[in-house]
Point group: C2
Chain length 312, copies 2
Amino acid sequence: MMTELPLDQVRTLLAAVDEGTFEAAARALSVTPSAVSQRIKALEQRTGRVLLLRSKPVRLTESGEVVVRFARQVARLEQDAAAELGLPESGEPARVSVAVNADSLATWFLPALTRIGRTGRVALELHREDEEHTTRLLRQGTVMAAVTATPAPVQGCSVRGLGRMRYRAMASPAFAERWCGGDGAIGALLRAAPVVVFDRRDDLQDRLLRELDPAGTGGGVRHHVPASESFLDAVVAGLGWGLLPELHVAARGVRGQLRDLVPGRAVEVPLYWQQWKLDSPALAELAGEVVRAAAQALGEQGVQGKQRADGA
Amino acid sequence: MMTELPLDQVRTLLAAVDEGTFEAAARALSVTPSAVSQRIKALEQRTGRVLLLRSKPVRLTESGEVVVRFARQVARLEQDAAAELGLPESGEPARVSVAVNADSLATWFLPALTRIGRTGRVALELHREDEEHTTRLLRQGTVMAAVTATPAPVQGCSVRGLGRMRYRAMASPAFAERWCGGDGAIGALLRAAPVVVFDRRDDLQDRLLRELDPAGTGGGVRHHVPASESFLDAVVAGLGWGLLPELHVAARGVRGQLRDLVPGRAVEVPLYWQQWKLDSPALAELAGEVVRAAAQALGEQGVQGKQRADGA
């Protein structure tokens, strides 16, 4: 039944979601806004479901998400088939949409995609999202693959392990002196100190505190700095302590400007690769590059971390 | 009338919005979820308006936004008054919530706030948002100040000019050779070349193309890389051309790895500082630091840009 959905109507739905409003979708498709409205209404009558909330920007209903995911998967297969048949390019390069967490994007992820992107055959569309929430974009059909924090597969997706990002509790030497130089367990000292967190959803620092100081309550001043580079800069500048990815500290060459506050103790975040279960060469190539880059970066990191813990 | 809104009900509304669900708000306030629900219902009856959409996460209605902005402004004034009276700190540091665009956060913005943050008297809460859309957070009352792209004041806010971010069309030498080495106007060459854009809303690159090649249509492959550092990394790696902030290129020391594709031509984005009109010392201090940092960074940049344009 799904394959009987008229392609122009499905494309119109996609355009409305991508562009945010009927007016913008109309411009993108070179039709009138009322044509956009009519096509979507027709698609809703055909499926017997409300697909789109007419908010600003428009939003998909759960049924709408199913249709959109279907449409994007068909587009992917269509592009693969055209490439395999050696058909002339439609002018539209294959769009590779991937959701990735900020710290991965700031460290190991980009080089893998850059290799694919430079071939000129694909257009990369990265979405930066918390690793706990990338699965939502996958479920909605916004992306065809994602770096996630969970191995539980989204429906219709396959899962592979990527390795672990290792974080260490770091601060500037002056900050460490002031807040962690006194008597007392490090957990209690850290709990009282100013801390830098990524945003409201970031509980990585709290997780460490709960491990180090399970009985403690309350906490120090919390600063929210929602960008990986600025987060690292803020910790180096002495705004607070924070959990920094070992990879990032090494890549930026700022290890000498930081103290490891809890030596030998890393917080590890396992990462997974989830992608649509489709027999698509483009997706397979993408997965290959990402898994290889992760193995190299997160593997090397593991060894470094071990050496450091042994030598510290 | 507004001041007769019971403070516990208003605080409950704030907690629901900040935490996202009634359950999380209940945990944060140490009450039951049904108490949260009752208080919000009572506040809605008192105001005669629906304040909150019971979605996941919950969302404010327009009336809800007014109440929340009012509540946050009262909290700000209360903290200022307590500080001025020399009252003992409540344990809660003053929260300074600011919306800022990604490129400002990656370049000139953070040092200004770090100085304030390190005093230990305030908790910084930065929101990273497109400069065209930071005004929305201001209007909603989510932030008390914002770096915006528009001088049109949000209701209840004052505006000051900060200067201009200057962007240049850059690419790797190999990319420049391949895509811009041939015959033809630079506008047409750039239009056909792969381009890196920040996200779907970023039309900075398109703006330059419209100026250089007004009659042109279509375009090359578009890659979306939604993080300032990764955006710069992607351009350096040769994924596409892109508009890079002069400040960022200088700070990262990658000028030697990049070609200026349109020498003497910078795209300028004027930035403004908007903040609540409140007689608040904390806000005034914040504004002072930000305006000073902007004058220094965007001023120096202006001089550099001029020298470069003259010397190129």
